[in-house]
Symmetry: D2
Subunit: 364 residues, 4 copies
Amino acid sequence: MKRVLVATGGGDCPGLNAVIRAIVKRASQEPDWEVIGSIQSFDGILREPTEIKVLDERAVAGIHVQGGTIIGTTNKGGPFAWPVKNKDGSWTAVDRSDEMIRKLQYLGIDAVISIGGDGSQRISQQLYEKGLNIIGVPKTIDNDLSATDFTFGFQTAVQIATEAVDKLVTTASSHNRVLILEVMGRYAGWIALHAAIAGGAEVCLIPEIPYDIQKVAEKLQSRYNKGKGYAIVVIAEGAMPKGGTLVSEQSDEVGYHNLRLGGVAHKLSRDLKDIGFDADIRETVLGHLQRGGIPVAYDRVLATQFGVKSFEMVLEGKFGEMVAYRHPDIISVPLIDAINKPNFVAPNCDLVRTARGVGISFGD
Amino acid sequence: MKRVLVATGGGDCPGLNAVIRAIVKRASQEPDWEVIGSIQSFDGILREPTEIKVLDERAVAGIHVQGGTIIGTTNKGGPFAWPVKNKDGSWTAVDRSDEMIRKLQYLGIDAVISIGGDGSQRISQQLYEKGLNIIGVPKTIDNDLSATDFTFGFQTAVQIATEAVDKLVTTASSHNRVLILEVMGRYAGWIALHAAIAGGAEVCLIPEIPYDIQKVAEKLQSRYNKGKGYAIVVIAEGAMPKGGTLVSEQSDEVGYHNLRLGGVAHKLSRDLKDIGFDADIRETVLGHLQRGGIPVAYDRVLATQFGVKSFEMVLEGKFGEMVAYRHPDIISVPLIDAINKPNFVAPNCDLVRTARGVGISFGD
Amino acid sequence: MKRVLVATGGGDCPGLNAVIRAIVKRASQEPDWEVIGSIQSFDGILREPTEIKVLDERAVAGIHVQGGTIIGTTNKGGPFAWPVKNKDGSWTAVDRSDEMIRKLQYLGIDAVISIGGDGSQRISQQLYEKGLNIIGVPKTIDNDLSATDFTFGFQTAVQIATEAVDKLVTTASSHNRVLILEVMGRYAGWIALHAAIAGGAEVCLIPEIPYDIQKVAEKLQSRYNKGKGYAIVVIAEGAMPKGGTLVSEQSDEVGYHNLRLGGVAHKLSRDLKDIGFDADIRETVLGHLQRGGIPVAYDRVLATQFGVKSFEMVLEGKFGEMVAYRHPDIISVPLIDAINKPNFVAPNCDLVRTARGVGISFGD
Amino acid sequence: MKRVLVATGGGDCPGLNAVIRAIVKRASQEPDWEVIGSIQSFDGILREPTEIKVLDERAVAGIHVQGGTIIGTTNKGGPFAWPVKNKDGSWTAVDRSDEMIRKLQYLGIDAVISIGGDGSQRISQQLYEKGLNIIGVPKTIDNDLSATDFTFGFQTAVQIATEAVDKLVTTASSHNRVLILEVMGRYAGWIALHAAIAGGAEVCLIPEIPYDIQKVAEKLQSRYNKGKGYAIVVIAEGAMPKGGTLVSEQSDEVGYHNLRLGGVAHKLSRDLKDIGFDADIRETVLGHLQRGGIPVAYDRVLATQFGVKSFEMVLEGKFGEMVAYRHPDIISVPLIDAINKPNFVAPNCDLVRTARGVGISFGD
């Protein structure tokens, strides 16, 4: 019996379960393969007692419809920087990668499929360099990876953000308000950009295009001047004014990525008032709602493709590579290439031009 | 030609447009009636120039599917307390009710249907006492009115809150987190209670049952002890600890009802940490998303019933009364009775007992 | 240890799983009770080997969100009319009720909760008369039971049918078509009536109000005359013309209740053409889509209330009774009373009056 | 003032309104352009009196959220084959293209944007060859065009079909049934293929891969043998057995494309019984529900991109070309190329391999 270990790392993302199910379904077609899930990324391997779960067809039945991941995830630590508490209460990061690889051998693991984002795939590459038979499956709800046309989870997040815009439009127009919707995207504004176009927002603020608060106010004011006394602003959590910096608050207490949720929307609201823009402004922060729930069909299809392909890459021994989507094909690319090429919104790309074409202002 | 004026006051609520459409559709069956909409509650009448809109069948085609109100709304002032700015920048409330009644006569208005909440219906009663032919249609998304079994908008808010719980469950369980969802309800916890039951939350905190933070922590800890490393808390914006007070921040800058949105969820999160509850806690605030969007079928039916009935009450001359739902009938009740009987969650009512029966803790 | 057996009978209905979960959650609060599920209604008891399933908290975790029933159902036979195949291929109905009661004793079952419709509750009553400790939970997606204000599953079906109307409106208006939507309701037209009002249909045909095909054509033609070149007709599967009979086709091959799905919509379409109504008419049959999927929040709350109450009735020994909803209370009523009082749409009830008030024609 | 005429032809498709809105929004940024809508494709131009509608920003406000097309559509005739009734009641197709081009000149139309499918774009090419300044926007809900990565409307149809599978799974599993879902796709099986993967169906039957009824029965039987007593079959309306022909019924009375809706699903059900497959089989036909309703975010974005680009092609004088999507760019391609290259499912493409990888049988 051969064994493939599956781990999901980083923030949860709609479609993770569909990837897991596809791996298990595909593996069940090979007579001698078994799929093992590591609980909460590689933590399950490193903990004592080991926390793993045999993933057979019964275990994955129907899970493609569920958000989240049935094997849990974590966005802390990992085998190269395992947090160990010192006697004085401080933390030290310890490299437990050799130990983990030995443990995988001991467990009879022949290959590993690591489903995760940026950080996870850097770990995959390091483990690969240490000789581990590892395959990467990219996971980034922000869609910020140039190696693949799209990543799963992104369309679900866009759909949720768009439905939020739809809801805010009715309340904004009834009350003559400006409604600011803060969505995910610390470095890449794809979710904000798609949702602004799909929802018909007036303003879209993203990390890649720093905004001028005066320009934002002018755009909003022009709506009131036209007699349309309301407007929707979609803002990515990483948006910032020209010359400004990330609204980081040195704390991930309530937010993603050390960024306090809602801080960006609130700053914009306050800044608009400070420069004298006189309207009823309200903020809504989507937060965790963007990650959860039932994946849209698009993401379920893409995730299933990634899952099947990743197991086939195991069969073909394509270790050190990552699955990717180049329409209409599912391909594999070297992990090392994939890690270092982010996919940001180019200010002159066709999608930004589309947005400007329907009158959306980026405040620039 | 006889004319009925329709106004929508207070916070927007899913179903308002269905009420308006039903009034217009029903009036179109009478040969000699015309429906006029007053823009932004009675403000449209008091402004110069008058802002009104003739509401014929074309104007209301398809609007029952839309949230919000096509004639706008406001939650400030009203004819008895119209805000006038003084030279020193301060505001004075001026009684313009007589002027408004004269203006309605001048416009040839034979009757008024006022769709609105608590505050609006108090105004309706005062106008009725001054001789205006006025009918009330109750609007409260919080469902806090004992004169009627249910009010429209409530089921839509519950559905939205429940779907939010569904989404948070997947992310909470993947990350072993406690997720706190703040929903509407300053004085009445109906939305929180329904969403907690429908979503399968572990804790539900409502204004009517003050909570003990230790009891909340114990309940959450018991989940972790059982091996279920996550939990969902649904909290109404008006929930408060035993002996505590409303988390009011003397400002309605970003919230409803002078209450800063998210304040309650954040306080709970902080308090849990302060007493040493050691888990990853995150907050989500639904805010304006609960008011917007497409009304669920239930609310469209109820709103349509209210609309038709209210116009028939005009035909019957039942002024000074309000439409209400007593299953399966649509009835009328005196405004004066309706205003003074709120509908709070009784701590021993069947619904609370149901919640306790499925293991939901109220922290008491 | 005491044991309560739970069985779900008849057509599946959104909310069944929420009832089951609530029973299990409530029972887990009693130190000495265990819940056993019988697979596919009572068939699981009567089969050899016995098919039952212990329902503990783990087994019911999260199921309130799922449609269907985790313990399966059937709408054939039952203990009093168990189908046995004869040598010549024909079937005989055999009374196995005594055998079943003995088997329940053998299994140590102290009480039974039977969740099911009309047919199932008649069986419950018969079993009760034979001495079985049985409690009924009503299940009818058609809402055709006068003992309770509402039954679970109904609002989900109405919501699905309403969303179907919403979708058909856009295609009907784009193509200037008449679109006929066939929904459930063989004897009671509640789903059709609610969906017609909520969706804004032009015509609603239900079993309780036989239609005149000429009147239907006139109503539709009046839409075209007004320049609105499209219309939506919602028809219950049991609707029939004046003096007509049910469109029964002596076969339940593809339909519910011996009624071929789509037959009614197709007959209406054909009859409209036969009398010379000249428009592009299309039909859509919702069929099984009305039963499946995620229950709306309303049904999850109601089903949870029924589940908790039914177990408490077991504790109180209220056998031979059925749980019911009388707003805002959850009560119990004798099974015998409940069985014999159906809840049909009264042609002069407030809801029909509402429908007429917004211009919906019943073709009468 | 320059004028661009917009027409929508063929079956309605989610996203049409978003295209129209984008054209109008983009045109409003040019000082001297006006957009005119032709009612019901080019019929509005050919009728007397002419039926056109000025499309300004007010006319298109908020329409991107609506399915259908605000300027109507038709799938009959066109300027080259206008149906004229003869005295004997028969019909003759008359070429009115020259007349139409003259009329467009008379109306001061400088360019035409024709949004439509296969048939519409053939007409566009013919009109272009006659000298008309025409731009094509592809519209095919079936996604069967190789010139573009995706067409709008497709993802909405897939989402609706997937949600239908989700609903059918709960009812199928509760009753141990085989449920057959018939979806659109006469020549191309993309919708069925995507929905089968996203929904987790067991069998997917598409026009491109003729099926063997025995193989279908074996696959279904294997589910029952494994103890999973239910299965979902997704079948495209153009699927056919090996050596078979389309289930055409020479009538488009109730179906698309001369194909009676439901015929294919019913044939499969009957054929399965005829070869002795003994299970409870039910059919559901999605029909018009796939076309209607609110477009998903993906389609709104793509449609908006197509709309903006098509107007910019007018500005650039790229007549005789069609807008297309080559990720991540929006490009233009010659109409003549686009028309003749359909996009069918290749039996060995990655998506089919994915489907087989998760155990979906194509019955081959």
